[in-house]
């Protein structure tokens, strides 16, 4: 009963937040003199089959990115560096896969392993700096993002296929591409085969965090570092481990795009996924299912916003405003719900104490 009620309250928060975001965005639109009705009509219209495919595809990528951020969040680490980690990892994986040192599916496995290792390594630098030198991971990962940008740009130029304005790594051979799935009837485009990678990562995240001793230690460190230390957790080791896992998951972010769409890493490889992931993780409250909803919501908004300019003459960027407000209000809403839950719990405890006391007086009196 109590659990159902607290679950309902948890659900209420994001729904309220989205409603609030719609309201505030409406005010923004009105202030700008934009056609409010047509904007919402466009965004909340029924997506076409090909749009559904796009939503699922970009949702899976956002999901991976948010998981990477969430691993850090669960222990109070702010890995801002998912962005740099996934780009450098995607580049490395694209290069390795493009070289086709091993055939077919082995090549895919090798590339994914490379991506996870490189992502973990890049995040691990920030972890090491924090553990050995006490440098805030926020600062170091931001720096590492910039370094990753420069490094990837430089390496890309060194290995790129010349002769085009869009330089890319050698395309992955046909035999090592991950075929899409034509699951949505009526859509020409296909769902990335690597959507399952996102699902697998979500399952892994859930088991790791809520079922393993490692996950308990990670959450305990996030909840109270001092209590974690007193309980025997080596928090330095945990920081390093969490950064490595976060980086490895970040390494996966680019994989659906690489093996299902672009088949190479080039200057037009989708940037900014790391930052979007942070927002989605906040939205999904670091919960594997919540994040899935958040990722799909963001992907839905992005996809639907594409038609805004054509349908309503409003820049698609308005949807970024809406996403920002959603995240902000969701954070506030969660806090409100958390306090309400806490107050309700205290009431229940007080009631329990009163009952116990009454029984005691009955017995003695």
């Amino acid at each position: 009963m109590i659990r159902v009620r607290s679950m309902l309250m948890t659900m209420a928060a994001p729904i309220l937040a989205v409603a609030l975001a719609v309201l505030i965005t409406t005010v923004v639109l009105l202030a700008a003199g934009d056609p409010v009705g047509r904007v919402w009509g466009t965004i909340f219209s029924e997506p076409r089959p090909r749009n559904i495919v796009n939503i699922i595809n970009s949702g899976s990528v956002l999901y991976l990115s948010a998981l990477a951020a969430a691993v850090g969040f669960r222990m109070g680490l702010f890995n801002i560096g998912v962005d740099g980690q996934y780009r450098i990892a995607a580049f490395a994986a694209a290069y390795v896969a493009g070289q086709a040192w091993v055939p077919g599916i082995l090549n895919i496995a090798l590339a994914i392993l490379t991506a996870m290792l490189v992502g973990a390594m890049w995040a691990g630098i920030a972890g090491l700096l924090k553990v050995t030198r006490g440098i805030s991971e926020v600062i170091s990962t931001i720096m590492l993002n910039a370094i990753a940008t420069a490094l990837v740009a430089w390496m890309l130029r060194s290995v790129a296929v010349p002769g085009s304005n869009n330089i890319t790594t050698t395309p992955i051979p046909e035999s090592s591409r991950v075929p899409g799935m034509a699951l949505i009837p009526g859509a020409h485009n296909e769902i990335y085969g690597f959507v399952f990678l996102a699902v697998a990562a979500g399952l892994f995240y859930w088991v790791l965090l809520s079922r393993t001793r490692f996950g308990f230690n990670l959450r305990a460190t996030g909840a109270s570092e001092s209590a974690a230390v007193a309980s025997g957790i080596d928090t330095k080791k945990m920081i390093l481990a969490a950064m490595l896992i976060s980086g490895a998951v970040a390494g996966l972010v680019g994989m659906p795009l690489l093996f299902g769409d672009s088949y190479s890493y080039g200057v037009t490889f989708q940037p900014g996924l790391g930052f979007a992931g942070i927002a989605v993780a906040l939205l999904g409250r670091n919960h594997p299912v919540g994040i899935a909803f958040g990722a799909l919501l963001f992907a839905f908004l992005n996809e639907q916003a594409n038609a805004l300019q054509l349908q309503a003459g409003v820049s698609a960027e308005i949807v970024k405003v809406m996403q920002g407000i959603t995240v902000l209000s969701v954070v506030i809403a969660y806090e409100v719900v958390r306090r309400a839950n806490r107050a309700a719990e205290q009431r229940r405890v007080a009631a329990e104490l009163a009952r116990a006391r009454a029984e005691a007086t009955e017995v003695t009196g």
């Binding site: 795009l257 769409d261 940037p271």
Partner: protein, 348 residues
């Protein structure tokens, strides 16, 4: 540069160069721009890169071409621009929506649309697709509208070397991508052709995928100040909106700067006009206009269409008169390039 089959558009473009902007190539019009501005059945869809209309740069040039087509032919049009960090599928979706809604031709502004055009064009065989700055997507219904930026840059490089007193000049690229490297390569070749001992400082503002280098005047200013401090007295920028900062730095340092894409003498605030030696004209507006016109004329361009020196697709500008004294030398270089006597490298 690819030497595949191409159509050289001569003259047609040159006539459209704005009167008053002045080029040294008044070949005379082959076509009459004063076609009836009445209504046309043609609906043009224009898909911009990030920044869209109003970026004071590349996208704006495309918009200018569309505006002229609207004025001249009365075409209907819709524009849509990319947003930062969007997935490849969003660019595809944009083209699909335009094509679906009956817009024809559909123009993708910038090489970032190559992948999307390659995917979408086959799905809409009856729609014509224009793709600026890229030959990566080829097809019967695709026109690749490209420019030999290195050749135009050669001319302004020569101008810079001729004007430099310190023997040191600068280049500022917005983002370190091959397209901008083309500008740099041509510029360097032009300068070295004039003065084999010249020193060239080169700076790129950002690295991909950070494309902010095309729209950050503060970054442009800082980089240019560095080059002027290091002794350069002429700086060429291929940095879009960041160029304003380059001009400001030149103004402060008492140096000269070279603009890009449009004749920037006419786009900068008047107090900065004095620092503009010349501009490397890359007539994206002309390409857009010509492409729309070819469609209206019933024979839409397709395949690789090079807007070259001869056609005025790339050129140097003379507004402000600072290059009047060296115009003869520059025109001689131009002639030699057109004649094939000089081959300008397109990468460093």
């Amino acid at each position: 540069m690819r030497r595949s089959a191409k159509i050289m558009i001569a003259g047609m473009a040159a006539s459209l160069v704005l009167a008053g902007c002045g080029t040294d190539d008044p070949d005379g019009p082959d076509t009459d721009p004063g076609t009836d501005p009445g209504t046309s059945e043609v609906k043009v869809g224009l898909a911009y890169d990030v920044g869209g209309r109003g970026d004071q740069s590349f996208n704006d040039a495309a918009a200018a071409g569309l505006d002229r087509a609207i004025a001249d032919f009365g075409v209907d049009s819709t524009e849509s621009s990319a947003i930062d960090g969007e997935p490849e599928s969003a660019r595809e979706e944009r083209l699909i929506q335009l094509a679906d809604a009956g817009f024809n031709p559909v123009i993708g502004v910038g090489f970032a649309y190559a992948g999307a055009v390659a995917k979408v064009a086959p799905q809409f065989p009856d729609t014509q697709f224009g793709l600026i700055d890229s030959t990566d997507a080829m097809g019967d219904n695709i026109a690749n509208l490209v420019f030999p930026e290195h050749e135009g840059s050669f001319l302004v490089g020569a101008a810079a070397a001729l004007k430099s007193e310190t023997g040191k000049i600068g280049f500022i690229g917005g983002v370190n991508v091959p397209l901008i490297a083309k500008f740099e390569a041509g510029y360097a070749a032009g300068a070295l052709a004039v003065n084999p001992d010249i020193e060239i400082e080169s700076t790129y503002l950002t690295q991909p995928p950070d494309f902010s280098g095309f729209g950050d005047p503060a970054k442009g200013r800082t980089a240019a100040e560095g080059q002027f401090d290091a002794g350069a007295d002429v700086v060429y920028h291929a940095a879009g909106g960041s160029g304003l900062g380059v001009f400001q730095a030149a103004d402060t340092a008492g140096g000269l700067a070279i603009g890009v894409d449009s004749d920037q003498y006419h786009t900068v605030p008047s107090e900065l006009q004095d620092v503009i030696l010349t501009s490397m004209l890359k007539q994206v507006d002309v390409a857009v206009y010509d492409y729309i016109k070819s469609f209206i004329d019933g024979s839409p361009l397709s395949g690789e269409v090079v807007f070259g020196l001869e056609a005025g697709g790339v050129d140097y500008s003379t507004s402000g008169g600072l290059v009047d004294d060296i115009a003869d030398q520059l025109d001689e270089f131009k002639r030699q390039i057109i004649a094939g006597e000089i081959t300008v490298p397109d990468s460093m």
